[in-house]
């Protein structure tokens, strides 16, 4: 059966934006999951602020449209409140690698059972074209007309170092590959992140650049349990940018490690007895 995830929001992405294939891949991927063992009512999405975040309005799903960079803590709160929910976050490179970078690192460290898509267009787009944490050195944006003075951050290296338990990269030009990777990320119990290489036609059009360089990792040529190898493969090379699952491991999730009463539990509250103890 097909699932209608349309809303009546007007789509305001630029024609040719890499976000369209994210939206379509998510819809198709969720459709597949709903046909199997996931229910629409149990999905909760969150988004930061930026072009990526407009996806929130285009998906008829439960969610909390949060603040710039704050997707991970919002999802953490949702997950603590009700661990049965499946949480998916949408973030931008400027959003979660600048403003919210501490939250990303800590969510990975905790192994929060969440899936985060980092829409990495390597530029600040909705604020009309400044360099972002992933822009190449020398990037000529409106705030750096002579070129950005900084080396870019590799988000996947950051995530490997932060102990994320599922680390992948996809590309807007490879929608089916994204859909399949997204489903695996959602099914992964733990912190799963997909860096989505996503061209911005207005401020940093990288379609041709990626089309010439993106290669798919296959299971025969990459062992996703090997961290050293994951680090090596996740490096952007001049002539080869691999996409696929670089690393995954199974370990207990954040909410599984919590020891207190779950908010959804029936509660025994024994204030009187405690006050006796305090007398």
């Amino acid at each position: 059966m097909s699932f209608d995830l349309e809303t009546d929001a007007t789509n305001t992405w630029c024609p040719g934006c890499g976000n369209f294939s994210v939206l379509r891949g998510i819809k198709e991927g969720l459709g597949d999951l709903f046909n199997k063992d996931y229910m629409k009512k149990d999905i909760v999405i969150s988004a930061g602020i930026g072009c990526h975040a407009k996806i929130f309005d285009y998906l008829d799903l439960n969610g909390f449209y949060g603040l710039h960079g704050r997707v991970p803590p919002v999802l953490m709160g949702v997950k603590i409140a009700n661990p049965d929910l499946t949480v998916i976050g949408f973030a931008g490179d400027g959003d979660i690698l600048n403003e919210g970078v501490s939250h990303l690192i800590h969510a990975a460290k905790r192994n929060l059972d969440a899936t985060i898509i980092i829409h990495n267009n390597r530029v600040y787009a909705l604020t009309t074209g400044q360099f972002s944490p992933t822009s190449p050195k020398g990037f000529k944006g409106k705030s750096t007309p002579e070129g950005s003075p900084e080396e870019p951050l590799n988000p996947l290296h950051l995530l490997i170092g932060s102990n994320a338990s599922f680390i992948a990269r996809c590309y807007s030009g490879e929608r089916k590959h994204f859909k399949e990777t997204f489903k695996k990320a959602v099914r992964h119990k733990g912190f799963s992140v997909i860096e989505m290489l996503q061209p911005c036609v207005a401020f940093y059009n990288t379609w041709d650049y990626y089309n010439d360089r993106v290669v798919k990792l296959t299971e025969s040529d990459h062992d996703p349990t090997n961290k050293q190898l994951a680090w090596k493969e996740a490096t952007y090379q001049e002539d080869r940018i691999p996409i696929g699952i670089f690393y995954k491991e199974q370990r207990k999730t954040f909410t599984e490690n919590l020891t207190g009463p779950k908010p959804t539990d029936k509660k025994q509250r024994d204030i009187k007895k405690l006050l006796k103890k305090l007398s």
Partner: protein
């Protein structure tokens, strides 16, 4: 009537506060009113910590600066406080070579081959004897507090008792008069109030003076039915609290001024997304990092105006333990009733002082959220007369629940439409009508007395003012607003219109309550009594200043 002031001091790491706590519980169990103020610098070992302990057969509102009994766990305590001891006694260790009741506590610690820390229990034994409490009572408290580790403490207390019996007269005779009462801090009272109103999740980042909420709920989470989580920073705290509330868990966070500054964006988010949350702000001496372990009331104007944009907010300011419990419960319920952020404004003195108190347990119960009855066509932000839209939660059948930080339409989809933006802003601000109704009358302002001299005060400072009121020969009326936002103009105009003189007493350097009061009501403040040396107003001194400036 018996009324006693004790100062017990030593180095950080000697268990000064633990000792005062044991003694306070003993006095509370024996049926007396107890108030303890902790005074400690921001360090872990060394320095000078002391506790002001006041015990009375009457009601106690605060501590005094004078000392009847000084207990010195180190020599420095003697130097710091001996001048404040009038006709009282000084208890010192036999090794110090100082004048006073010399007790060889440190040699007993050696003799018993006990850990150094039990020195503090030895001194509690001395103090308990000198003030007439029974040995068995003390042993009971030691066993309850130390459990498996009680034995060595009991041994040293026993030595102290026998030694004092053989060598000293009692200083005062507090006998056990029965009627044990709980002995707790403001932070603990707040925690229990929130739990009574259905708290599911406490989420906090450590910051003095609210850290002990994190400790207390962490220790008792199973008994109280609360999950406790410590995230990476205060921005993580507030956003996680909102995520949890959105998904149906009642959440609370606590911090101090600096952490609350970081939370502003989240408070604003709670406002526009109409997400319930209760935040405790325990004020300490600022600005910046300020003086971390000392009290102040200088965040009032910042907190009532916190965060950008215009949205309904509630700020409640308790002044004693009962109010801490009650307003925390009311605050959590109101956050959910009106789906908006509520701040409980406290201060170090209120957060961390301990006192005996019967909490009004029956006054707070969890109020169920307003839930939507329609199963089809649920709209998260449906326009209603009260401004409050019925709630549903993710995971429930047949609904899509979208909260948003952007201005949104009734379904939670982003909007920039002129009419919709106005409609939503009006809808949210309309909640103030219900909020004002809920926070009117006696709940909004406490009044003590009936005279034409009004003294306005708030928060922990109320304790000193009520003590000063006792001392004064002439009657004054103490007026304490409990609600700072929306400010109770109507009530205060009614109460204050007949005063011939209005003074305000607060622990800051600019008179922030006075500013709010002058700004919002039709009255002026005649005399400001301000103190910003981080120590509480001393009742005697305050009384004479009020007399001089308001009563001639």
């Amino acid at each position: 009537m018996v009324d006693l002031s004790v100062v017990l001091g030593g180095k950080a790491g000697q268990g000064v506060m633990a000792a005062a706590g044991i003694y306070g519980r003993l006095a509370g169990r024996s049926g007396y009113d107890v108030f303890i103020r902790n005074d400690y610098p921001s360090l872990i070992r060394g320095g000078h910590n002391f506790c002001e302990i006041r015990i009375s057969s009457d009601v106690v509102y605060s501590s005094y600066g004078d000392v009847d009994i000084l207990v010195c766990l180190d020599e420095n305590t003697y130097d710091e406080h001996v001048d404040a001891v009038g006709d009282g006694v000084v208890v010192v260790d036999g090794d110090f070579g100082l004048e006073g009741l010399e007790v060889p506590v440190s040699s007993w610690v050696e003799e018993l081959d006990a850990p150094d820390i039990v020195l503090n229990t030895g001194f509690v034994g001395v103090l308990a004897y000198l003030t007439g409490f029974g040995f068995d009572g003390l042993v009971g408290v030691l066993r309850d507090v130390y459990g498996d580790r009680a034995e060595v403490n009991v041994e040293i207390a026993d030595k102290a008792f026998s030694y004092c019996r053989d060598n000293f007269e009692k200083f005062v005779d507090f006998r056990d008069v029965g009627g044990a009462r709980p002995f707790l801090s403001g932070n603990e009272a707040v925690s229990l109030g929130a739990v009574s109103a259905g708290l599911d999740l406490y989420i906090g980042y450590p910051m003095t003076p609210t850290t002990s909420i994190l400790h207390f709920l962490g220790e008792h989470k199973d008994r109280l039915g609360v999950e406790v989580v410590q995230p990476e920073n205060e921005i993580g705290v507030i956003n996680a609290a909102l995520g949890a509330s959105y998904a149906g868990a009642r959440s609370m966070a606590a911090t101090s001024g600096g952490g609350f500054d970081l939370m502003h964006e989240g408070i604003s988010l709670a406002g526009i997304s109409e997400t319930p949350v209760l935040v405790v702000e325990g004020q300490r001496a600022g600005p910046g990092t300020g003086v971390p372990t000392y009290s102040s009331q200088a965040d009032l104007l910042s907190v009532v105006n916190a965060a950008h944009g215009e949205f309904p907010r509630i700020v409640l300011a308790p002044g004693d333990l009962k109010e801490c419990f009650y307003l925390a419960g009311v605050g959590l319920n109101l956050a959910w009733r009106h789906q908006t952020p509520v701040t409980l404004l406290m201060d170090s003195l209120l957060c961390e002082s301990k006192a005996t108190c019967e909490l009004p347990l029956e006054s707070i119960e969890e109020e169920p959220a307003v839930l939507s009855e329609t199963d089809n066509g649920y709209s998260r932000y449906r326009d209603t007369e009260s401004g409050v839209s019925p709630l549903r939660f993710p995971g429930e059948e047949d609904v899509v629940v979208k909260n948003s930080s952007y201005e949104h339409d009734i379904s939670g989809i982003t909007t920039e439409e002129i009419d919709m933006v106005s409609l939503m802003q009006d809808k949210r601000l309309r909640k103030y009508k219900g909020i004002r109704e809920d926070l009117s009358g006696e709940l909004a302002v406490n009044v003590y007395g009936d005279s034409d001299i009004g003294i306005l005060t708030w928060g922990s400072t109320k304790g000193s003012v009520l003590e000063a009121r006792r001392i004064l020969d002439e009657e004054i009326t103490v007026v304490q607003p409990l609600v700072m936002k929306p400010f109770p103009k109507k009530e205060l105009n009614k109460i204050c219109s007949s005063f011939s003189c209005i003074g305000s007493v607060e622990a800051n350097s600019t008179g922030q309550l006075a500013t709010l009061f002058t700004d919002k009501t039709d009255n002026e403040i005649d005399e400001k009594f301000l103190k910003y040396d981080m120590r509480p107003f001393r009742p005697n001194q305050l009384a004479s200043e009020i007399e001089e400036r308001c009563l001639d």
